[in-house]
Amino acid sequence: MLSYAIKRVLGAIPTLFILLTLAFMMIRMAPGGPFDLEKQLPPEIEANLQAKYHLDEPLYQQYGRYLWDVAHLDFGPSFQYRDLTVNQLIADGFPVSLRLGGFSLLFALFFGIPFGIIAAMRQNKPSDYGLMTLAMLGISIPNFVLAPALILLLAVYNDWLPAGGLGGPLHYVIPVIALGTAMMAYVARLTRASTIEVLRSNFVRTARAKGLPERRVITHHVLPAALTPVVSFLGPATAGIITGSVVIETIFGMPGLGRFFVQGALNRDYTLVLGVVLFYGMLIILFNLLVDLLYAWLDPRVAYK
């Protein structure tokens, strides 16, 4: 297993290199540059700025310079936030995104899995229909609708929670619900489907036949098997939820990485966008690897060499 993990990590390096090169070319092909503004700068001032950020050099030279810096883990200065480096921005933004995404994921799993199991156990009964209708609603309501509604209900009409900003744990409650609900609904549906399938399988029938209490059948036999699809869904989902919280971060004014990423792209903040792309790339590769390892641990039929 260890050699497999090492092989995967080494294999990631060329992937990241291609990712970075493509991203570099693509952002440079986008029209406009970081210093284009409505109040266009006089040419001599623009030239001074270009020189300061080496944008006056030929592209291959800029690319070489950038690769050299990245190899030293220096992502360069941000073009938009001129007092800060991309390293600082990632170091500041990632913990926020991680907390937001991590709690949302926990929220989704904590409620989604039990809901899915309950629904599966009472298949085609009113509680199953009720839960699955709710799940459908949860998937269908976009978070940019859910979030303002929750803010109105919990922060404006009632004074229970803060409406936005960064602060204590309470500041995370509404954003986590808003971000995690769709995922919870998805997890619930996924769990229900796989549980129903597992409940019909032979080894569950055997477990019941040998007289095990129902609770033990569920926790020891059904659950591990039913959760494998949920786990394989977790890899991309974790990366997605950490990278995809842009809307929530904007609505709640949270300084996460997702917002930097989108703002960076709009501002043509080349270094910031590339830095975040590379960082996300590493993250996604890492999560997929973790999930594959977890998968092997859960399912004895899977083995890596």
């Binding site: 409505e38 266009q40 001129r82 509680s127 404006v156 904007t250 609505i251 043509r268």
Partner: protein
């Protein structure tokens, strides 16, 4: 009842609460933030995150707002926008109006206790024009001797027309009399900088811990995307009169979220107001909404370098005449904007601007004339003009563009296509002057003088997106630029504006208002046309709970 049955009920109730408490309740929590030790906090929405807190490299509104609290220029502004002494106690202007001698305050010190000297101001001014600083606003010092040559790299920064006479006296030499020069000295680009910090920390001299400032506040915390916290600078020379003790600037780009946080009692002063909620706000908290006429014009630029809009002032005039500006401001923008029948906003001081000839005509006469001009330009129902309006992504620009297209279609028969472009693409196309025909634009004055607007259409001015080039217009501006002010300068500028409105390379639509919400316990707010406010003039008086 099992939980699974309760849950839908709970959710239904929740939505019912939101729905029922809908249009006719608009809760706004009016509770100022006072810290345990009694210090008052002003919490201000501040739009986009400032790109820097380096006064010489900043350019956004959000950054300048904060810099005004952190630093003080030679000249400052009273709450109503009138100029008043700042870092300089007094100044003398020579008879030819080209030499300014400033006497600094003897007792003024930096936030770390070091005395502020004339050298600090000179250092700041030289730093702005130094090409190595790459200051986007360096051009603001263009009136100063040698500034342009230094920006272009032809002379060293030490050649700037700024001379330190002694510790407390500074002399600035101008190329020509510039009546608005003192106003420029309130701009963040002209603030002093604490040399030791700049040299020691480089770009990071603006960070908390490194930052040394001379304004009423000093930097305490900066969490990018979350907040910038300023605390009272007790070393400030006028600390006794500084109002609020702490200022929290919150970067919030989503105006809807900003309003909700205002309602929830987390913000005292917003940076903007969402237009869809204006009616509710006017109904429930009319006293908290401030609409202030602003030095800015929203207009449609016309590319006059290419057909169909080139060489056809008649067509351009017809397009301008066919717009019902009152309908636009009353039904679409709805924020007390002023319909624009001139180019220079009506709130610019000491200037009575030119007006379009048709400004006071009745609607029928105006439309009849518009149709006649349209016909004379060679278009008709059978041969309609095909036009494209380009605008950058935004709901309000889109709405306005569709209204304009509709007015052109109904009143003239123009076939207009709307094209939405991403911001940077939009800018590039406007600049390229190839694809773009009509583009939405806005211009906010840098200082309170008609010149900042008229200059935009000067043929060699880099921002002249229309490609307008009228030697007569340029000549009038050249003449006005070297005059010290007074009636002659005014009349030259008025003549230039008249020519501009005749040629119509731009269609002014309305003059901006800035719209903000301010809680009733905030005192000391006086609106001004440039939107320049100093937190030190603000106090918080808790207790009053009505609107």
């Amino acid at each position: 009842m099992p939980f699974s049955k309760k849950l839908p009920l709970l959710l239904l109730t929740a939505f019912a609460v939101v729905a029922c408490s809908g249009p006719d309740s608009f809760p706004v929590k009016e509770q100022p933030k006072i810290l345990k030790d009694g210090r008052s906090v002003l919490r201000k929405g501040n739009g986009a995150e400032p790109e820097t807190l380096d006064p010489h490299r900043a350019q956004s509104v959000g950054a300048s707002t904060i810099l005004r609290d952190l630093y003080e220029g030679l000249v400052s502004k009273a709450p109503d926008g009138e100029l008043e002494p700042g870092g300089a106690e007094s100044w003398e202007i020579s008879a030819d109006k080209k030499t300014y001698t400033f006497s600094l305050r003897q007792d003024a010190v930096w936030s770390n206790g070091d005395p502020i000297t004339a050298e600090d101001y000179a250092y700041g001014l030289r730093r702005v024009v130094n090409p190595a600083t790459a200051s986007p606003y360096a051009q603001i010092l263009a009136p100063v001797v040698n500034a342009n040559a230094i920006i272009q790299g032809d002379l060293p920064p030490s050649e700037l027309g700024v001379k330190v006479l002694d510790k407390n006296h500074l002399r600035i030499q101008l190329n020509s009399p510039t009546p608005y020069f003192l106003g420029l000295l309130t701009h963040s680009s002209t603030y002093p900088a604490y040399r030791l910090a700049v040299e020691k920390f480089g770009d990071a001299f603006t960070q908390p811990g490194n930052s040394v400032t001379n304004g009423a506040y000093k930097l305490d915390e900066w969490v990018v995307g979350s907040h910038i916290r300023l605390k009272r600078n007790t070393s400030y020379w006028d600390n006794a009169n500084t109002g609020v003790d702490q200022v929290d600037y919150l970067p919030i780009t989503d105006v809807g979220s900003e309003l909700k946080r205002y309602q929830a009692g987390e913000i005292d002063w917003t940076s903007s107001v969402p237009i869809p909620q204006l009616d509710q706000i006017r109904k429930h908290i009319p006293g908290q909404l401030k609409t202030i006429p602003t030095l800015g014009v929203y207009y449609y630029g016309l590319n006059v370098t290419r057909p169909p809009l080139a060489d056809s002032p008649k067509l351009r005039r017809a397009l301008s005449m066919a717009l019902d500006r009152e309908i636009i401001t009353e039904k679409i923008t709805r924020g007390d904007e002023i319909p624009a029948y001139g180019w220079v906003p009506t709130v610019v001081d000491n200037y009575k601007g030119a007006r379009m000839e048709f400004a006071d005509w009745p609607r029928e006469k105006r439309l009849a004339q518009a149709r006649r001009l349209y016909k004379e330009a060679g278009y008709s129902q059978d041969q309609p003009l095909h036009l494209e309006i380009r605008y950058n992504t935004s709901e309000s620009h889109k709405k306005l563009a569709s209204v304009v297209a509709n007015m052109w279609r109904v009143n003239l028969g123009v076939d207009t296509q709307l094209i939405n472009e991403e911001w940077k693409v939009f800018l590039q196309n406007v600049r390229g002057k190839q694809l773009t025909q009509v583009f939405r634009a806005g211009w906010i004055g840098d200082y309170n003088d008609p010149y900042t607007f008229l200059e935009l259409m000067y043929s060699r001015f880099g921002l002249n997106g229309s490609g307008y080039n009228n030697p007569e217009y340029d000549k009038l501006l050249d003449q006005a630029a070297v005059l010290p002010g007074g009636e002659e300068r005014q009349s030259l500028m008025r003549r230039a504006e008249t020519i501009l409105l005749q040629d119509q390379p731009v269609i002014p639509i309305y003059f901006y208002t800035s719209k903000v919400l301010i809680k009733p316990y905030i005192r000391g707010f006086v609106g001004n046309g440039l939107g320049h406010y100093y937190s030190k003039d603000i106090t918080i008086v808790p207790g009053r709970q009505s609107n």
